[in-house]
């Protein structure tokens, strides 16, 4: 209780309340995440329940337009006759799950490798940093496309559509670890020469304990900042892969696969299938990025603006 009061009175909260961009983007992110979490409760239809889908309802326009509309479908329907609003809510869930788990995997790999190469140095450091250079010289999408395409070809689309979420988390998670590893390594290099680390060594602490209990907590703020931005990046990567047909299957669409499925109909006038999920995706990414930028400015006093 007391800690809560201290937190609410802190400089961090004060600056948050003062910053309109941060307030707006934070409330937008929270709204979107809540909407995604509560999708089964608030969505008017269940897009996964095939018995409720009627092909005769396909490509209905949003209710405020002049075309074919139906009051049951606020934002219209997609080519398969699913309610677009419900599909977007469920799709955002999948996008967020992939984004968050991929970033957790990235953070785990990157923080471990960054701590080890920063603290041990020498050959270990050289090995991991050259590995990071190689990884960074191949773009995330290229690695992901090759891996996912090979997987799909080798094991068939059937198995692939079942394991799609895991595969996407795995591929996006592994492809972006160097971001974390480099940031953490840089902070570790700065921290490890401070006297409190020497003091821990003099006490006879094992290197593992020094890294986890002393150095890691002091490198948390940059980790927090890149985590928000990386979540946005991971969601974009997932959307791009889904758009290319290597992401989520049609029966369990994420935002990206929804955008992609509407793309074929955009010239026949059914613009809403692509445009509305795109707007949701842009709002989500933009607000996460703005929040990340704000967090970076606050946690790094050297960047204080005007």
């Amino acid at each position: 209780m007391n800690k809560m009061a201290v937190f609410l009175g802190s400089d961090f909260v004060y600056r948050f309340k003062k910053d309109k961009v941060a307030l707006v983007s934070f409330s937008l992110v929270v709204t979107l995440i809540l909407a995604a979490l509560l999708a089964p409760v608030i969505a008017p239809h269940n897009p996964y329940d095939l018995t409720t889908i009627d092909i005769m309802d396909s490509e209905l326009a949003p209710i405020w337009t002049d075309g074919d509309t139906d009051e049951r479908f606020l934002l219209g329907t997609d080519p398969q006759g699913r309610d677009l609003l419900s599909t977007i809510l469920y799709g955002m869930r999948i996008s967020l799950v992939i984004g968050i788990f991929a970033v957790m995997l990235q953070a785990f790999l990157g923080v471990t490798i960054g701590l080890l190469s920063g603290y041990i140095g020498g050959r270990v450091d050289a090995f991991f940093m050259r590995l990071a250079d190689i990884q960074l010289s191949l773009s995330t999408l290229m690695v992901a496309i090759i891996t996912l395409a090979v997987f799909q070809a080798a094991f068939g689309a059937e198995l692939y559509s079942e394991l799609a979420i895991f595969m996407l988390v795995l591929v996006i998670g592994i492809a972006e670890w160097p971001q974390y590893a480099r940031t953490v390594r840089a902070s570790v290099l700065a921290e490890k020469h401070k006297e409190y680390v020497d003091a821990a060594r003099v006490i006879g602490m094992a290197p593992k304990r020094i890294m986890l209990r002393h150095i890691l907590p002091n490198t948390l703020s940059p980790i927090l900042v890149i985590s928000t931005i990386q979540v946005a990046n991971a969601i974009i990567s997932e959307a791009a892969l889904s758009f290319l047909g290597l992401g989520m299957p049609v029966n369990k669409p994420s935002l990206g696969s929804l955008i992609s499925s509407g793309f074929e109909f955009i010239f026949s006038g059914s613009w809403w299938i692509t445009v509305i999920p795109s707007i949701v995706l842009i709002m989500l990414i933009l607000s996460i990025n703005l929040l990340g930028d704000w967090l970076r400015d606050v946690l790094n006093p050297k960047l204080y603006k005007d």
Binding site: K194, E195, Y196, D198, A199, A200, R201, V202, I203, G204, M205, A206, P207, R209, R213, H214, P217, N218
Partner: protein
């Protein structure tokens, strides 16, 4: 204290420390820095052994070598006759309990993310895993009180304290394991003068009540006079004079020590006759041949440029100087 029968606690034998110098694959060669050159010292039980010298002369390097933070390139360090410079962290455990260190900068030596209680409990948790929570808390409180800290500080973070308070917390951390030997690397040089005396007194009280031996590094000669019973004067990685404090201040023999002592300001205004030295301290990357001090020594002759002097007993003190040996000085 020096009249008591000495038993050597820490012996430093011909310790050398080199940094850089290697060139690896794809990395340019770095200059070789000779930070310590064949340093030999013996610290007896109960000593307050002071190490003085100007910045960059290797005082801290020697301290770090003794405590095991940077194992020496060559030479031996013995603790109660057992060699400790080549042990692994695990093999060193019994010695880490007996040897602790107090650092120079109280603002960097406490982990900013840990409360005082966490910082002080940690050494006990590592070395005595079987100790109960209550025992640990009792011990922490006892040590806090013994260095004049209020036990109500325990739940606070380091940034809530002043420099002197932090340094007393650092001392408390060093005392947690009931050590016999404490290396203090300029523990008071980052503090306000009014706080320096307070921290020194805490250290002296701890020495009396716990039979501590200190290796105390400083460049403040008045502190040496007040605190130490033996002094080693270092210049450019070598020990040039080693003596009991009283003798050193009464009859400094080495020309560098004489210059150093003449630079201490005196209250009676008699300190105007500085021994003036010309030039600058040579770099440790390119040591002068022979005696390292010969480039600035007013008494240097050809022999000083060729041969390296060894520490020799000359009655009152031990000096590494040919001029003293040959009676030219």
């Amino acid at each position: 204290m020096s009249e008591l029968a000495h038993s050597p606690l820490v012996e430093i034998e011909n310790v050398e420390q080199r940094f850089g110098g290697s060139s690896g694959f794809l990395s340019p060669s770095q200059p070789l820095v000779k930070a310590l050159n064949s340093v030999s010292l013996t610290i007896n039980k109960g000593d307050s052994f002071c190490l003085v010298g100007e910045s960059g002369c290797g005082k801290s390097t020697l301290a770090r070598a003794v405590i095991g933070l940077n194992p020496p390139t060559a030479g031996h360090i013995k603790y109660q006759g057992n060699r400790i410079d080549n042990l692994s962290t695990r093999e060193r455990q019994p010695y880490t309990r007996k040897m602790q260190m107090v650092f120079q900068n109280p603002y960097a030596s406490l982990n900013p993310r840990m409360t005082v209680a966490q910082t002080l409990q940690e050494p006990l948790q590592i070395h005595f895993p079987t100790m109960s929570r209550a025992e640990i808390e009792a011990k922490v409180e006892e040590v806090m009180l013994s260095v004049g800290n209020d036990p109500s500080w325990l739940e606070r973070y380091p940034h809530e304290f002043s420099g002197g308070q932090r340094q007393r917390i650092s001392i408390a951390r060093a005392l947690m394991l009931d050590p016999e030997f404490i290396v203090a690397d300029e523990p008071i040089s980052a503090l306000d003068v009014s706080i320096q005396a307070q921290v020194l007194n805490v250290m002296m009280e701890a020495q009396e009540s716990r039979n501590l031996t200190y290796l105390f590094i400083t460049h403040d000669l008045s502190v040496v006079e007040h605190f130490g019973n033996r002094v080693a004067v270092m210049y450019l990685g070598t020990v040039c004079e080693l003596a009991d404090t009283k003798n050193l201040f009464a009859t400094p023999r080495h020309p560098y020590t004489q210059a150093l002592l003449s630079a201490v300001p005196k209250m009676d205004g008699s300190g105007v006759n500085h021994v003036k030295m010309s030039g600058e301290v040579p770099t440790a990357m390119d040591l002068p041949s022979g005696c390292v001090f010969h480039t600035r020594c007013p008494y240097a002759n050809d022999r000083c440029k060729r041969e390296i002097p060894k520490l020799k007993d000359n009655g009152d003190t031990q000096t590494a100087c040919f001029a003293v040996e040959e009676g030219r000085l």
